[in-house]
């Protein structure tokens, strides 16, 4: 067998000269180089407008801040209960979401199987469905066994708050985890397998440590989504004082009673919670993950 490599073809320059079209070296008219600033300015205007809108929204809320109204709202035992329930339910639902999102994200990222497209579409249901419909679906689901057996303990009780938050937040956490696992090359697992790991060990020892920023991103995202969840909670858990009232439903109740300053006080509390969570996530390395 004879190996013919490009370096052995001594006629290459001659062949190339024969293949070159006659007008190949004809000089072309020089390009007119346009200034870059209109492009940058256009982009900056669009981006700046959005950032300004967000900042103005928060500033407008702060301008309505009234210390006396704040004291009245947060002195109210119902609101105090709703703050506690919000913090607790958001934390439980975020932890549950990550617990489910890690295996789901890993399987969807690493394996190809028949019906994967269908599973993918099902996982996106809570993201694309209007939140009220998600609540309605949960309510109907708990009419059927085996869920109906737990109906009295769950529906319109605090577990319903957690479940309503979890269903939506988990879908976002799954997306975050899947992106995170997609970014980790499978080559690491391959090497770990040849070094003596079984698949579970390769996951725990090699993949999961690299997915830590993704887990934190998923946790933050799930917590933030749970905090903002309103529709499914209202339909599935109701808004009963001292039982199922969370900050988002407190806001709704203040709105129904026409108390603008009370609404602002509750919303500022929610903004404060969101800022604290996002700041903590940034401190602990969320910047390393592109969602």
């Amino acid at each position: 067998m004879v190996f013919i490599g490009w370096e052995m073809n001594h006629n290459l320059p001659y062949l190339c000269s024969k293949m070159v079209p006659s007008n190949f070296n004809k000089p072309t008219s020089p390009l007119t180089v346009k200034a870059e600033w209109p492009f940058i300015l256009g982009m900056a205007l669009i981006a700046g407008s959005y950032v300004l809108l967000l900042a103005l929204m928060v500033l407008a809320q702060i301008s309505f801040f009234s210390p006396t109204e704040m004291a009245r709202v947060f002195g109210n035992p119902d609101i105090q209960f709703s703050i506690k329930l919000t913090l607790l339910s958001c934390t439980i639902s975020a932890l549950l979401s990550v617990w489910v999102a890690v295996p789901v994200g890993y399987l969807m990222s690493r394996f190809t199987f028949r019906g994967k497209g269908v599973v993918d579409a099902i996982l996106d249901i809570p993201i694309v469905l209007p939140p009220l419909i998600v609540g309605c679906c949960l309510l109907i689901l708990f009419n059927y066994p085996p869920f109906a057996w737990l109906s009295d303990q769950v529906v319109f009780e605090w577990p319903a708050v957690v479940l309503a938050q979890f269903v939506v937040a988990c879908a976002f956490a799954v997306r975050a985890m899947r992106v995170s696992f997609d970014q980790i090359p499978t080559r690491y697992e391959d090497v770990a397998l040849t070094l003596g790991c079984h698949r579970g060990q390769a996951f725990w020892r090699v993949v999961l440590p690299q997915a830590r920023p993704g887990i934190l991103a998923a946790l933050t995202l799930a917590w933030a989504r749970s905090l903002g969840e309103f529709g499914p909670i209202l339909v599935f858990a109701g808004s009963t004082h001292q039982r199922t009232e969370v900050l988002s439903t407190s806001f709704f109740l203040e709105m129904q009673s026409g108390n603008l300053r009370g609404m602002v006080a509750v919303s500022l509390m929610m903004i404060f919670c969101a800022v604290v969570v996002l700041s903590l996530a940034r401190i602990f390395g969320l910047r390393r993950v592109d969602l």
Binding site: M1, F3, G5, D190, V191, T194, G196, Q201, R205, P209
Partner: protein
């Protein structure tokens, strides 16, 4: 002897058909072939990372076709080295030994021995992010060698190195082969590497593997 019998694999447009291949024990075998010819796929099949649709893989008389990668005692150094991020070089090398529950004292002896052979004592406490291309290559090699495999597969190990490092690594690979006395399967495009290192050379083309006679270096 590592033997591939009637190995076939079809994956989309890519086909390996009825591959017969014998790699002599203790040899430094080089597999050459153009891009997309299936060199890396064949190595993945040998390592147990990919299942062939048909055929048998025999390691020293044992049919290992259905064995898991961990059971095959094959060291694998991929082209991108795949050093585990956030783990020091010492722990990278010890990785396979820790899994086998080797006592700490023996792990330390083995790590020091390998770092001595591969001239990397000064790298042991570094993270992979802080290593140059040549250093990372040596660490990946040491990590694969640590559990004493019977075969080590090197997937284009020198392709990303500059000329000086390339020569240094060629020398080191020769030394490691002589030192460990194991079978080496080295994948490359480069005839130069094959001429410097191989005791046996093969070429894959059209989904078939055949012995290949190297001409003089150009």
């Amino acid at each position: 002897m590592i033997e591939l019998k009637n190995i076939s694999l079809r994956q989309g447009q890519f086909i390996l058909s009825d591959v017969h291949w014998q790699i002599p024990s203790g040899s430094y075998s080089v597999l050459m072939g153009s891009s997309g010819s299936g060199k890396s796929t064949l190595v993945e099949i040998i390592c147990g990372l990919r299942k062939p649709s048909h055929g048998q893989i025999i390691f020293n008389g044992n049919d290992v076709t259905h064995w898991r990668p961990a059971q095959r005692q094959v060291g694998y150094v991929p082209q991108d080295r795949a050093l585990f991020p956030g783990i020091t070089v010492r722990h990278q090398i010890a990785f396979g030994l820790v899994l086998r529950k080797v006592p700490d004292r023996e792990i330390n002896i083995r790590v020091n021995e390998l770092s001595d052979v591969l001239h990397m004592d000064h790298l042991l406490d570094r993270l992979p992010e802080k290593l140059s291309g040549g250093e990372a290559q040596r660490v990946a090699l040491a990590r694969a060698l640590a559990p004493s495999p019977t075969l080590i597969c090197l997937d284009e190990p020198l392709s990303a190195l500059d000329h000086d490092l390339h020569d240094e690594m060629c020398h080191l690979l020769k030394k490691v082969h002589a030192y460990a006395g194991i079978t080496v399967l080295h994948i490359t495009h480069s005839r130069y590497e094959a001429q410097r290192l191989s005791t046996h050379t093969f070429r894959i083309s059209g989904g078939m593997v055949a012995p290949y006679q190297l001409g003089s270096a150009s």
